[in-house]
Amino acid sequence: MRTRTRQRTFGALAVVIALIWMFPVYWMLNSSFLPYNRIRAAEPTFLPLNGTLSAYGRVFDSNFFDTLRISAMVTGITVVAALLFAFLAALALSRFRFRGRRSFILAVLIIQMIPAEGLFISQFKLLEGWQLLNSVVGLSLLYIAAVVPFTIWMLRGFVNGVPRELEEAALVDGCSRLQAFFRITFPLLAPGLVASGVYAFLQAWNEFTLSLVIMTRPENMTLPLWLRSFTEANRVSDWAGIMAGSVLVAVPVMIFFLLVQHRMTSGLVSGAVKG
């Protein structure tokens, strides 16, 4: 009984925090329904009553869906490749002892620390040499490299958390080593995969600078570039349009999360160990 009330209290607290955290998001949504002269005014408008959908009309008029397709491809490649590569690397680092292992770990860590501000110049030259400018593959390549160090670190921790005995049991059952990794270990990493997947997704989805210099042709625009175009569409920034566009940009992220979120709790705790 006592735990029930405590859980309720915590539940209420969680909801309150969620609401506070969401307030700026709500403000974005609210602004997307308001004409600009009501977004910024001496008396703030808290509810978009008598609002307008015209901003969404403008946003859909511009080539949202083409842009969405490019962004979806880049992000998809980045997430899948980063998770796969990181999973393999994490296995190697966690399950095997080999020379250079320590320096690899250290190198991955240091890469995280490099300030990337000026790097785009050289990365542009690199892709130019490979004729990968204005290509989904080229941009994805840079994104994968940007997120893979973190995903390796993250997944390594999770692989360490999976008891080695489980894999060995599978080996006894006649699986090959690689099969054992993919059949047994991989699913058990679900929470880690989801957390790093969401991270990789958002990095690729919202990245601006690299996309700006690599994807210079209008037909290759990614969503952040597309969104930026509303700041100068009309001399005065089209803020309602930007907010409406941002809402649309955030929707696929939410869909992605809702699709994967139940995996977050079905890791070791509720999963295989007990079964």
């Binding site: 004409p35 910024r40 015209s54 601006f208 210099v213 210079t216 042709r217 100068e232 001399r235």
Partner: protein
């Protein structure tokens, strides 16, 4: 061969200019003649980068049609760029033979960054037929380095004063004709409307040195001066001090704008009825008239005039605008030059005037029209000035020394001391 090519191209341009003056714009015979001579370059797809919304769609359509008609077989693709991030994009793309656009628009303050490094094609020989002395000379200078010209003006724009006729009437003020009258009007408006929160007789947010520059220059001051090839800050000089003192007076006695705010979105306080006068670019009119952005209801009470100087002539306001250039790495130099000729033609340039911008050629300014807004535009441009032509001026703007200076002045700081500090920083960055 090469010379012959250039000759025919030149003839075509001359013919174009003539027909443009004639006004009927029928140039269709010229390219055909070119083709017969075998003088046209290999057809190609030409990419033109234009920034932001200043060149409206109708002008773009006209440009594409005209170019493709004059250069049969070639096509023109206009790709709209945004000002934000433009330098990064130009830095990388202009250096790449496969990705470079053929013709690009750059801001007039960005032009020196690229002219000194060989990113643009030398078009010195083309300048006379593009307009020569008729071009806005400050912009030609911005696009030149070492006696060679790499970029020519595309269009310009400058600010004038928007004011509330009803508030002027209520305070018994006439449209000011000198700087002194203007300052008096600004202070009086604020006093008469003290009951309105945040009211500005003259709206001047703290960071807005670009509009504050007019008061500095009107008093004879400068941001920086060149002596024996060395640039130094000039803000602590007596004339500049006089100007900055006036700016401080405006901040404290006339403006109700945030003391550290920026000048974007001036229409918001204006539409809230908190502004008597403000110095803004001409396009603001469009925002004020827009029912979703501004306040069309207020427009009958809105008037404009060019900021008057101490001598009764228009005050020197900051001139903004764009230059246009050919990428040195473009494989289609001939076609790019053809495009540039069309862009600089009277026919295309006069369309800028029709859209309220100052065209690149002085002789076309009449095209702005005759109403109150056009008159203010024409007047404001006559004495307008550019930022110092130092090669590193972009670094000064990037470091925000001037924003800091004006914010500190707005907050009541010691103008002499602040100016000396700013001079030191500017000298450091220009040296």
């Amino acid at each position: 061969m090469n010379r012959a090519l250039r000759l025919t191209a030149g003839l075509a341009a001359a013919a174009l200019a003539l027909s443009a003056c004639g006004g009927d714009g029928d140039d269709s015979t010229e390219p055909a003649a070119d083709a017969e001579n075998g003088g046209t370059p290999e057809p190609a797809d030409i990419r033109l980068w234009l920034n932001g919304p200043d060149t409206p769609q109708s002008m773009r359509d006209w440009l594409v049609a005209e170019f493709e008609q004059q250069n049969p077989g070639s096509t023109l693709t206009i790709e709209e760029q945004q000002w934000e991030g433009l330098v990064d994009r130009l830095t990388t793309s202009l250096g790449s033979e496969s990705e470079t656009p053929d013709v690009v628009e750059v801001g007039n303050t960005q032009a020196p960054t690229f002219t000194t490094i060989g990113a643009f094609t030398d078009i010195t020989d083309l300048v006379p037929e593009l307009g020569g002395d008729d071009l806005l000379q400050g912009f030609v200078e911005a696009g030149s380095a070492d006696d060679k010209t790499y970029a020519v003006p595309l269009y310009a724009g400058s600010s004038y004063v928007f004011y509330r006729k009803d508030l002027f009437a209520a305070s018994g003020i006439e449209v000011p004709t000198t700087m002194q009258e203007f300052v008096d009007a600004a202070v009086k408006l604020k006093q008469d409307n003290a009951s309105v929160p945040n009211f500005s007789g003259f709206w001047l947010p703290g960071q807005d040195w670009r509009d504050g520059a007019a008061f500095l220059w009107d008093a004879g001051g400068e941001f920086a001066v060149e002596e024996n090839g060395e640039w130094t800050g000039a803000l602590s000089a007596p004339e500049s001090q006089e100007g900055l003192q006036l700016v401080q007076r405006l901040f404290t006695e006339a403006s109700g704008a945030p003391k550290d705010g920026n000048e974007a979105d001036g229409h918001v306080p204006f539409c809230a009825g908190e502004v008597g006068m403000m110095l803004r670019p001409g396009w603001l009119r469009g925002s004020l008239e827009d029912p979703e952005i501004g306040c069309p209801d207020m427009m009958p009470n809105v008037g404009v005039f060019a900021l008057p100087g101490s001598d009764g002539e228009p005050a020197p306001v900051l001139l903004g605008g764009s230059n246009i250039a050919i990428s040195a790495k473009s494989p289609n130099q001939e076609l790019a030059a053809n495009l540039l000729r069309i862009i600089m033609s009277d026919e295309f340039q006069s369309q800028y005037a029709e859209n309220g911008l100052t065209p690149a050629k002085v002789s076309l300014a009449d095209g702005l029209g005759t109403d109150e807004f056009a008159a203010a535009t024409v007047e404001a441009v006559t004495n307008a000035k550019l930022t110092p032509a130092a090669a590193n001026w972009a670094t000064v703007e990037g470091s925000r020394v001037l924003e800091d200076l004006f914010v500190a002045i707005a907050n009541g700081g010691d103008v002499q001391q602040l100016a000396e500090d700013a001079d030191a920083a500017i000298a450091d960055q220009l040296g």
